[in-house]
């Protein structure tokens, strides 16, 4: 990878260009091993069985079966099996605005099952580090255009009748490093800036209804108490629809990385809007122009104008199995293999997913399975008969708001390739005859015509 490309990818992350590439260059010299090679080793007992020999793991007593296990008093808070230690969030220098306090650690969605992300694997993004809030000192203030401003302690907040809902949260920069072409041969990094959980809290409208909201109130500011005092403007329409103040995540308190003790949850909307370590809500007649809705989280279009207040994460999907991390192994022609994936839409509920084996030229319908909920991860599946040929897998989701995932060309012809945020173009995996998976894209070369319009460059090779 050339320095130029490294530089470009860095620019994508937070629109930051850097001239000091020396330490990053050193990183690349170490050139990490290919993902596929690392995934290759495993203890497959079945190798014995297929050769007709008895499997020693059946014939002998297994090593854990003859000695006493741990007492129930060990691990008062349970931990995953030690063997699962590679299932972790990961980060990379290129996704850091200088340090790992202004950075993101992404979810291993190649290992995820069902539609719930365990709390320890939920992606973690912060702008001034993960704050550790003392719940006894926690206060939430609601003020501005209300008759009765309010201060709540955590205990008082939790007295409100609670509501529990399952929703994904997605960083709008999910996939945002790949506007100009694929960069990550990894599902975790290409699509793992998102997770899904069951959240418990109270609808913000249920608190506000007793405070006398003034009719001029059009927007709120939600502000965090962390080092960066991160704040965002939210329109009252969302506040009075499904915005929640949440303290529970998958049946326990929010994790510090998710804003312990309290964050705001705007189902389906940019993760950045779901302000963590929430301290203040201010109702106003004008928006606030916080740093994360001006300098960042705005999507530049070819016209030179940028979309501000880009709320919902649009309909999207990805194949999760196979993936670059977990390719198909030991496959024979005629084998039946389940292709699985996730689909999600911040604008509504998934109504269907189509799958393609030729990179998005032709499609067949895949099957949804499990719970199909609004603004929530939805599992889909297709059972494929392996043919021993190269295929290019692509998935395309639809939602009940009437949207369908665009092709890469359809999307970039409108938004260009410098938008950074809200990329939901169709994703493609090339699966080689040996089952190895490579991330790639099906796209045309673009140019500007004489009028400045972005068009396909038909002459491009």
């Amino acid at each position: 990878m050339s320095n130029k490309e490294i530089k470009n990818s860095q620019t994508d992350i937070e629109a930051v260009a850097s001239d000091e590439l020396s330490d990053r260059r050193a990183f690349f010299k170490k050139a990490a091993l290919s993902v596929g090679a690392l995934a290759g080793t495993s203890l497959l007992a079945n190798e014995h069985a297929s050769s007709g020999e008895d499997d020693p793991f059946i014939m002998h007593h297994v090593k854990w079966g003859q000695k006493l296990g741990d007492p129930v008093t060990k691990n008062r808070y349970g931990m995953p099996s030690k063997y699962e230690h590679n299932v972790t969030r990961r980060n990379t220098k290129l996704l850091a605005s200088g340090n790992f306090q202004a950075s993101i650690a992404v979810t291993p969605i190649h290992e995820s099952m069902g539609i719930i992300t365990p709390n320890g694997l939920f992606f973690s993004r912060s702008h001034g580090g993960v704050a550790h809030v003392d719940p006894n000192e926690y206060r939430l203030m609601i003020h501005g255009l209300v008759e009765k401003p309010l201060v709540l302690t955590l205990e008082q907040l939790k007295k409100y009748p609670s509501v529990t809902r399952t929703h994904f949260i997605e960083c709008p920069a999910n996939g945002g490093q790949e506007w100009r072409g694929p960069q990550f041969n990894s599902l975790q990094f290409a699509k793992g800036f998102m997770s899904c959980a069951e959240w418990t809290g109270v609808y913000l409208k249920d608190i506000l209804k007793d405070l006398g909201v003034k009719p001029e109130a059009k927007w709120i500011l939600a502000e965090g108490s962390d080092n960066s005092e991160m704040g965002r403007t939210i329109p009252m329409d969302k506040v009075m629809d499904d915005a929640m103040i949440v303290w529970g995540q998958n049946g326990e308190a929010l994790r510090p990385e998710q804003g312990y003790p309290v964050r705001i949850l705007l189902p389906g909307w940019e993760g950045n809007l779901c302000v963590k370590w929430l301290k203040r809500i201010k109702l106003s007649n004008e928006p606030f122009f916080a740093k994360e809705e001006t300098s960042k989280y705005t999507a530049l279009k070819p016209s030179g104008k940028a979309i501000q207040h880009f709320y919902a994460n649009e309909v999207n999907s990805t194949v999760t199995s196979p993936s670059p991390e977990i390719p198909w192994k030991d496959v024979k022609v005629g084998d039946l293999i389940e292709i699985e994936g996730l689909a999600w839409s911040g604008m509504g509920t998934i109504t269907g997913v189509d799958i393609s084996f030729d990179g998005g030229k032709n499609y067949v319908e895949a099957n949804l399975k499990g719970l199909v909920l609004p603004k929530c991860w939805t599992r889909w599946s297709y059972i494929y008969k392996y043919e021993g040929k190269k295929i290019i897998l692509a998935s395309r989701a639809m939602d009940d708001a009437g949207y369908i995932q665009p092709t890469v060309d359809q999307e970039t012809l409108i938004t260009g390739i410098e938008a950074v945020y809200h990329r939901n173009g169709i994703e493609t995996w090339e699966v080689a005859p040996d089952g190895t998976v490579s991330h790639m894209q099906m796209r045309s070369t673009l140019k500007r015509d004489e009028t400045g319009k972005v068009v396909i460059d038909k002459e491009a090779k």
């Binding site: 050339s2 990894s186 608190i207 007793d210 122009f289 409108i414």
Partner: protein, 384 residues
């Protein structure tokens, strides 16, 4: 595949919230939306207005919203939890600065700003805000000139991209004052006074070569509240939809009703493309070179026992707690250290533990034991 269920609208909608609450609007119902048992989606709120983000809402119908059963008992009740904040409490937290809310009165000069910048900001943001090591650049030159680059698109991989910096991109100067005051310096935010914040903001205007009210922000410039109110950013109209003013919300609503504004594709599901759906020019595009693969920890899906942790990892500690400042200056093994170690290592430890006037926070702002901290200092000084 799915059926739309026609269900009866729940009558028990709390009066105070009724204006905003959603109800089933059969005309606006999205096509083929809900599966059996779930309530249908609506593209409009109960007040008839389109959903703000271009998506749908799920009105409560027969006690359900989508698949969720709703507990409606609470809706008609009033909850009197908490208390009213005092005037002082409100003032203490009401710190936002916006296009309609000026910073408090005060002033600061470019000269003072530069001094503060050199002491508290340069280690991350580089000389004159040039950035570096991944830290954001605060300027790349003349704001008005760089604003012209915002139409740049790197269709040609060697072309220059758009310059999205304070001067060339941000729509409001209020954002800068507010963010510096509440969010910077990164390792110790909320430590700058009002005057210091004016000074640093003045310096930001200066390095972006800005003009305020016809006056160039040169090295002698002094910024105060009055002058601050006159700042117009070059890219103030560079954003869509227009959110300021009384039509702000309606502009947003209208914007998201047109999918072509934001790159969305609408489709009637039964008419979606199933055959020959790609542009003939679309070609397989692969990752250039090895792509980005410096993942931490390195990618692996192996199930084995983790390696035993080998005690305190000094390099990891440096990376997480010191590199943010020390990668550029007083870096591990750098000769910069020579002027610090003259009085012996004990003095260096002591100053590091206690912090210095020159910008070193006590223990680097981290929570290591003294012994661990000293190990990191040894590594910093020796580079080994």
């Amino acid at each position: 595949m799915f059926k739309v269920n026609k269900l009866i609208i729940s009558a028990s909608i709390a009066a105070s919230a009724a204006f905003f609450m959603t109800a089933c609007n059969s005309e606006a119902s999205a096509s083929g939306a809900s599966h059996s048992g779930a309530t249908a989606a609506s593209t409009a709120y109960a007040n008839g207005k389109a959903v703000i983000d271009g998506g749908v809402v799920y009105p409560v119908v027969n006690g359900k919203t989508s698949d969720y059963v709703v507990d409606t008992q609470a809706e008609s009740m009033t909850f009197n939890y908490g208390r009213t904040p005092t005037a002082n409490e409100l003032a203490a937290w009401d710190t936002d600065v916006t296009h309609i809310k000026l910073p408090p009165e005060g002033s600061g000069s470019v000269e003072e700003g530069e001094e503060l910048y050199e002491a508290q900001c340069v280690m991350c943001h580089g000389d004159f805000g040039s950035g570096g090591g991944g830290y954001p650049s605060l300027s790349k030159g003349n704001a008005v000139e760089l604003q012209k680059t915002l139409t740049n698109q790197r269709f040609d991989p060697d072309a220059d991209g758009p310059s999205r910096f304070f001067g060339s991109y941000w729509p409001q100067a209020s954002t800068m004052w507010w963010y510096i005051h509440d969010g910077m310096p990164h390792p110790m935010s909320k430590s700058l006074s009002v005057d210091e914040t004016y000074a640093l903001t003045a310096y930001m205007l200066n390095i972006n070569e800005m003009v305020v009210d016809g006056v160039e922000v040169d090295d002698d410039y002094v910024l105060d509240q009055e002058k601050f109110s006159k700042i117009v950013m070059p890219n103030v109209d560079g954003f869509e939809p227009e959110i300021r003013g009384k039509d702000g919300i309606e502009n947003v609503r209208a914007y998201y009703q047109d999918a072509s504004n934001f790159g969305g594709q609408k489709v009637n599901p039964s008419e979606r493309c199933m055959k020959d759906c790609l542009e003939p020019t679309a070609k397989p595009t692969y990752i250039a070179g090895t792509g980005i693969s410096d993942f931490l920890p390195p990618m692996s899906t192996v199930r084995d026992l983790p390696k035993e942790e080998g005690g305190f990892d000094v390099k990891a500690a440096y990376e997480s707690a010191c590199a943010m400042c020390h990668s550029a200056f007083l870096a591990p093994g750098s000769s910069d250290w020579d002027s610090y170690t003259g009085e012996g290592m004990d003095v260096v430890y002591k100053k590091g533990l206690a912090g210095t006037e020159g910008g070193m926070p006590a223990k680097g702002g981290a929570s290591f034991t003294d012994a661990e901290f000293k190990t990191i200092v040894d590594y910093l000084v020796s580079g080994k």
